[in-house]
Amino acid sequence: MTAPLHETSAGEATATVDGAPDAPGTPDNSGASKAIEGRSPWKIAWTRLKRDKLALAGAFVVVFLILVAIFAPVIVGLLGHPPDEFHEDQIDPLFGTPIGSWGGVSSDFLFGVEPVNGRDVFSRIVYGARISLLVAFLAAVFAVFLGTVLGVIAGYFGGWVDAALSRVMDVMLAFPQLLFTIALVSVLPNEFLGLDGSGVRIAALVLVIGFFGWPYVGRIVRGQTLSLRNREYVEAAQSLGAGRFYILRRELLPNLLAPIMVYATLMIPTNILTEAALSFLGAGVKPPTASWGQMLSTAITTYESDPLFMVIPGLAIFITVLAFNLFGDGVRDALDPKGSR
């Protein structure tokens, strides 16, 4: 370059304006250098999440429910009776309803007993949490995995790959999921690949819910990838000689992680509801195993004489879904403060 026309002395101006007073080579500061730590986007999201009271309440309930599901045998051992144990002494033999008031609630049976056979509702709710959360988590993981892989492929490679995958997603979204699941479950064998009755059903639920869930994730990931791959930092990586795999892994995935996480947390409550609906319709886990949806469906026949038996599993579903949704909304607001609100 040639003689500058504007006589600004670059060095001086930069040092002061850019707030880097000891810019090039003042060695005195190098001792204190380790103190300067950047605030990563994750850290910032975390501080934002910590300020969100509703999300924290949701997270608290979620953690509590997960602990309940994990330690179900311990909790039931301390506070209840085995979930499949009949207590006919708690049942009025004439009407088939619990003897005590409020569905037989007592210090012995915290949530009362089931009509007709007198099983401990508390134990069944606790064990039902296992099924609900297990199915919802695994299905979400499955859907997020499929959706991320296929969405990234569609968005990054574009062209006919994108066209084909997008059409597949459209077809999947238009598919009558509920009917398909009911039909599928009714033809499932009782034992399959070494899994017993409930195992087969749980696997089927996870696969079906996950499989019908991935297009939602896939669409979001595809859109994000499309917009991210044209960013200048991707070009910058290319201009340094980066290959496709490097760009995917180092430049795109870290930026996709936030929307994927948000969607996964918001997907879990939907999955809980789907599982409950399927169990309610008899397409869920098999009867001796407890599940919230299935308890609701049993309660229908006796709701006039024993309404509490219907309210309790309903409340369990409601609280779980609400907690996950509050937490998921909080995560979204924390990771993407510009979106919504």
């Binding site: 670059a10 930069t14 304006v17 880097a20 810019a23 190098s30 200048e232 930092y233 000689g241 870290p254």
Partner: protein
């Protein structure tokens, strides 16, 4: 002197696809035949209006895009169609500075990660370790080397642009292509970044291709300047000749558009040339000279014959049938070309009534220049015959 970079007939057409079968129905001729060289140690400035293909040109010579036609030679090697792995070793020598300091740094990486990416990708182990080298680079561009672990969002626009510059310089490149390096910055910061580029060039012996639409920035930094219009170079000259006696009417119009700090000091003759209309679409560029739809000197010849880029004065290449400031130009080649085109011109133009070409004629007529001017220009040329 051997050119560092040599570009020949470079073209980039982006296909326009329509319908279910994605048939190609046309092409955006973003860059449509460029020829120029860049010599070691110089700064070539590239100016032009928005959409004239400057950025595409920059991405072609850094091979972020593959040219449709023509060649890009870097130090004698043809790099026009090399793949990712073929280009990788050459990437050390050709680097790019990007326009948007907010888009060119990955928000999820620390500054240290960003500036050390070149070493990682190229498998280079600098003396004294990567971290030390990155901190040296940060110091070189005027940033605090201790900010190694910070994230891009913790910096201002000017500081971010410096990070981008540090990244581009990490591998000690020979050629740096800067695509609008300062257009996204505040004017006060622009000067700093421009001066930084200037200092680094002297310090490291860099060669720059600087793309900008800001004429004062270009004037400040460039040794030679290429003026682009609609995917073509219309004038390529050293800075002094271009700013003092532009020969292409488009260049003259551009120069006259540079704002003057104090308009009253401009003197009696206010010679600002206002171009009418917009740049025509690069999907269907006008035939002949691409500038004829907006040129006040355009004649029938300009509508049919494309003027070649000729060296009308030493070091000043112009693509125009009726160049400005052409008095005293005694290069035979120039006169010949003008003569030849003029004698040839009437034959194709007269039998064919011009309005038969709707897309070409419409804009030409809509922006019909003041009738006196083109005639005067034509007369001015006529005596040369």
């Amino acid at each position: 002197m051997e050119p560092l970079l040599k570009v020949n007939g470079l073209k980039k057409h982006f296909p326009i696809k329509k319908g279910l079968l994605q048939r190609q129905t046309g092409a955006v001729k973003a860059v449509d035949g460029l020829d120029f060289e860049v010599y070691p140690g110089e700064t070539l400035g590239v100016v032009g209006e928005s959409g004239c293909g400057k950025s595409t040109m920059g991405r072609l010579i850094t091979r972020l895009l593959e040219p449709t036609d023509g060649t890009v030679e870097f130090q004698g090697t043809d790099i026009s169609h090399l793949g990712v792995s073929g280009m990788r070793p050459l990437r050390r020598d050709i680097q790019m500075i990007f326009q948007d300091p907010y888009g060119s740094l990955n928000p999820r990486h620390t500054v240290g990660t960003i500036v050390s990416a070149p070493f990682k990708l190229q498998g280079v182990e600098p003396e004294g370790g990567v971290k030390k080298e990155v901190q040296r680079l940060l110091g070189l561009v005027g940033l605090n080397p201790e900010h190694y672990n910070r994230y891009p969002h913790e910096f201002s626009g000017g500081q971010r642009q410096r990070i981008g510059i540090a990244r581009a310089l990490a591998l000690k490149p020979k050629l740096v292509v800067a695509d609008e390096p300062v257009s996204a910055l505040d004017v006060s910061i622009q000067a700093q970044v421009v001066n930084l580029l200037d200092d680094l060039q002297q310090e490291l012996g860099l060669t720059y291709v600087i793309i900008a639409h800001d004429l004062s920035v270009i004037r400040h930094v460039s040794d030679r300047i290429a003026v682009m219009y609609l995917g073509k170079i219309v004038e390529l000259a050293d800075r002094k000749s271009l700013y003092e006696s532009p020969m292409h009417p488009y260049t003259r119009a551009l120069m006259s558009a540079v704002p003057i700090p104090d308009p009253r000091r401009r003197g009696a003759k206010s010679d600002r040339i206002l171009l009418k209309g917009d740049v025509p679409s690069p999907i269907a560029p006008p035939p002949g000279c691409r500038f004829h739809t907006r040129c006040w000197k355009a004649t029938d010849l300009c509508k049919t014959q494309e003027p070649p880029l000729l060296e009308l004065r030493p070091g000043q290449r112009v693509a125009c049938h009726h160049p400005e400031n052409a008095e005293g130009v005694t290069i035979p080649a120039a006169r010949e070309s003008v003569d030849v085109t003029i004698t040839k011109a009437p034959q194709p133009t007269e039998p064919k009534p011009e309005p038969s070409k709707p897309e070409a004629a419409e804009p030409a007529e809509a922006e019909a220049p003041t009738p006196a001017e083109p005639e005067a220009a034509a007369e001015g040329d006529a005596p040369k015959e």
